[in-house]
């Protein structure tokens, strides 16, 4: 095992896939020469090692970046493009939502769009709501897009490699804060299939379903509740679309209680989808009403105490768990 930060693990995945497949190329703003020089960042060193033909710094033009991916993908290349922050998805979204997601269907299955759109998400760095806005539920609402949100370096690496080899458009959302969190990553090649959740911690009393940065929050709460003999099972969804219903439902059937935790805002958030699946398919196993712990329905504020108020925390999660025990 090697210990890597998530940014480095993503970097390894990009590197390995570029070495394996000459059709893989990268494009985005500042991915070659950028304003940040940390070797921990996902695209660090790739321009030097693969050259400007395969690591394309683009102008500030998100629609063109996403369109580049669509057009190159239909020709059989394997674009991995970066949209700097999740809120800028809106500028790229016509190409992703109306085109990447739909054109295969419109061709009657004749054309394919094997592309990956990477973007940074997450609050907690004081930049405010035009940089911090988790929009995974928007992407999940578009048939034709797969949506991946890893929580660990090893998952990020294995899932990104699967995403690059997937014949479909994959939205790959990376929490900025996680770039700097270390974790074990196997030395040998490990592919993690898209659509597979993971039980991060078994527990008997309550299931917490979550993803991305909030997995760490759930594990912290699980540790604290364990001291009170409350067993919290933490399920990391890892992939929102397609959702691993089996793992989710098996856990809820076992514990009989569910809390869904995500950083994104509440109304129309993906917790609603998880809850609906459980209500439809495991209603009889529920011993208590389910709970959602999410960001409140506000744009992410910049001021530190306001931003802390926005972010879900272990305390907020534990309070929700206690309500339904």
């Amino acid at each position: 095992m090697q210990t890597l930060r998530m940014g480095q693990a993503i970097n390894q995945a990009l590197r390995e896939e570029m070495l394996r497949d000459p059709d893989v190329f990268l494009a985005g703003e500042g991915i070659g020469v950028g304003i940040h020089h940390s070797p921990l960042l996902p695209t660090a060193g790739l321009l030097k090692d693969f050259g400007a033909g395969r690591v394309k710094d683009t102008p500030v033009s998100e629609a063109a970046i996403a369109g580049l991916a669509v057009g190159a993908a239909v020709a059989g290349l394997r674009p991995v493009v970066e949209i700097m922050f999740n809120p800028f998805f809106t500028l790229a979204s016509d190409m992703i939502v109306n085109h990447a997601a739909k054109l295969r269907y419109l061709s009657g299955g004749k054309s394919s769009f094997p592309l990956v759109v990477r973007m940074k998400s997450g609050a907690g760095f004081g930049a405010g709501c035009q940089h911090s806005h988790n929009l995974e539920a928007w992407a999940a609402h578009c048939p034709g897009l797969k949506v991946v949100m890893p929580s660990t370096p090893a998952d990020a690496k294995g899932l990104l490699k699967s995403a690059i080899r997937d014949p479909n458009p994959v939205i790959f959302i990376e929490d900025l804060a996680l770039y700097f969190v270390p974790g074990p990553v196997p030395e040998e090649e490990v592919m993690i299939p898209i659509g597979q959740a993971e039980v991060k911690r078994p527990g008997k009393d309550v299931t917490v379903v979550t993803w991305s940065k909030m997995v760490g929050v759930a594990l912290e709460a699980a540790d604290q509740l364990a001291r009170e003999n409350i067993g919290m099972e933490v399920v990391d969804l890892r992939t929102l679309v397609p959702m691993d219903k089996e793992t989710l439902l098996a856990s809820v059937r076992k514990t009989g209680r569910l809390v869904v935790l995500h950083e994104a805002t509440r109304t129309g958030g993906f917790a609603g989808e998880v809850a609906a699946v459980v209500m439809e398919e495991a209603f009889a196993h529920l011993q208590a009403p389910l709970r959602r712990v999410t960001g409140p329905d506000i744009p992410v504020p910049a001021s530190p105490p306001l931003e802390r108020f926005y972010l879900p925390s272990a305390e907020k999660l534990m309070a929700a768990v206690r309500e339904i025990l």
Partner: protein, 320 residues
């Protein structure tokens, strides 16, 4: 037309205020935990904000971007309220919701500042449409960087503004970089102003470090706009002395390039001219400097002593 003395004094004051305000921010950024978020400064480019805003009237609106401090100060925003917002305090102009990146100061007709690159031009079209609709003798200025002109929204906005002869001045501060990208690495056209031709509007290139030239060009564009002759695209050639943000190590900006541009600093240029013409004396200049130093100190004191918002205040202001 000769530029009135009062306007020159106003510009000198705006230049100095923006410079001293941001010099203070550079220092404050060194103190761990003092200022949240990113810090994006316009040091070296202040003549654009100072010259353009001196050419405006109170009823004129500005739509600013992530590099907004000099625009807002020159338009008359209260330095205390700006500083408190930058600190994330409750007394800030946006109650801590915005921070430094999207400072909105409707009191001085700076209703929307956006950090989404390319977000400004379409909003400016709408703001100017309202002025035309109400037959006001007023214009809207949209401040953008060179990089922003590669967003599709910029082109849609220019076309519509031109088509409807809206009273907009698109002010492009070409500071030679968009992030780490040098101008010629993101745009093939030699000048941003050349793009105006495609929309049948005047496109002019002006020395952005010459406050008086900025003032004159903006005044001409304003006169055109209020006369119903439509928008103008002005490209001000300038340079940002500091990085994209304060955490940027500027590895891609050659030291000699920075030094060469620093030699064209807009402040000594205007100051020397005014001294030579007898428009200001050494004593009055000294008084202006100390006055501005006091304003900046007072803004910092106010920001530091102000409380943070209470956490639940995050829930306020979503809807009207």
């Amino acid at each position: 037309m000769p530029i009135p003395k009062a306007k020159k004094l106003e510009m000198l004051r705006s230049l100095l205020l923006a410079r001293r305000f941001e010099e203070a921010l550079t220092e404050l950024c060194q103190i761990e935990g003092k200022i949240p978020g990113m810090m994006i400064l316009c040091t070296g480019q202040e003549a654009v904000g100072a010259g353009v805003c001196a050419a405006l009237q109170p009823q004129d609106a500005i739509i600013s971007n992530h590099r907004s401090h000099s625009h807002l100060l020159a338009k008359g925003a209260d330095p205390k309220a700006l500083m408190a917002e930058i600190f994330g305090k409750r007394t800030g102009c946006n109650k801590g919701k915005s921070g430094t990146l999207h400072l909105a100061v409707p009191e001085v007709n700076a209703p929307c500042t956006t950090t989404v690159v390319g977000g400004g031009p379409p909003i400016a079209v709408g703001r100017a449409f309202a002025q035309q609709y109400r037959q006001e003798k007023a214009v809207t200025v949209c401040f953008i960087g060179d990089g922003a002109t590669n967003e599709g929204s910029f082109h849609e906005a220019l076309n519509l503004a031109s088509l409807w002869a809206l009273p907009v001045i698109f002010v492009c501060e070409n500071n030679l970089y968009a992030g780490a990208q040098r101008f010629e690495e993101h745009t093939r056209a030699p000048n941003i102003a050349d793009r105006a031709a495609g929309y049948a509007m005047p496109g002019v290139v002006v020395d952005g470090n010459d406050a008086l030239a900025v003032y004159t060009s903006a005044s001409e564009a304003r006169a055109r706009a209020v006369a119903g002759e439509g928008p103008t695209l002005i490209e001000y050639k300038t340079y940002r002395w500091r990085g994209h943000g304060e955490s940027d190590l500027q590895l891609y900006q050659p030291k000699e390039e920075i030094a060469a541009w620093q030699a064209t600093c807009p402040i000594p240029k205007l100051r020397a001219e005014m001294l030579a013409q007898g428009l200001i004396g050494a004593e009055a200049l000294q008084a202006m400097e100390s006055d501005i130093a006091a304003i900046v100190q007072e803004a910092i004191r106010f920001a530091e002593e102000s409380p943070y918002p209470e956490p639940h205040e995050a829930l306020e202001d979503v809807f009207a």
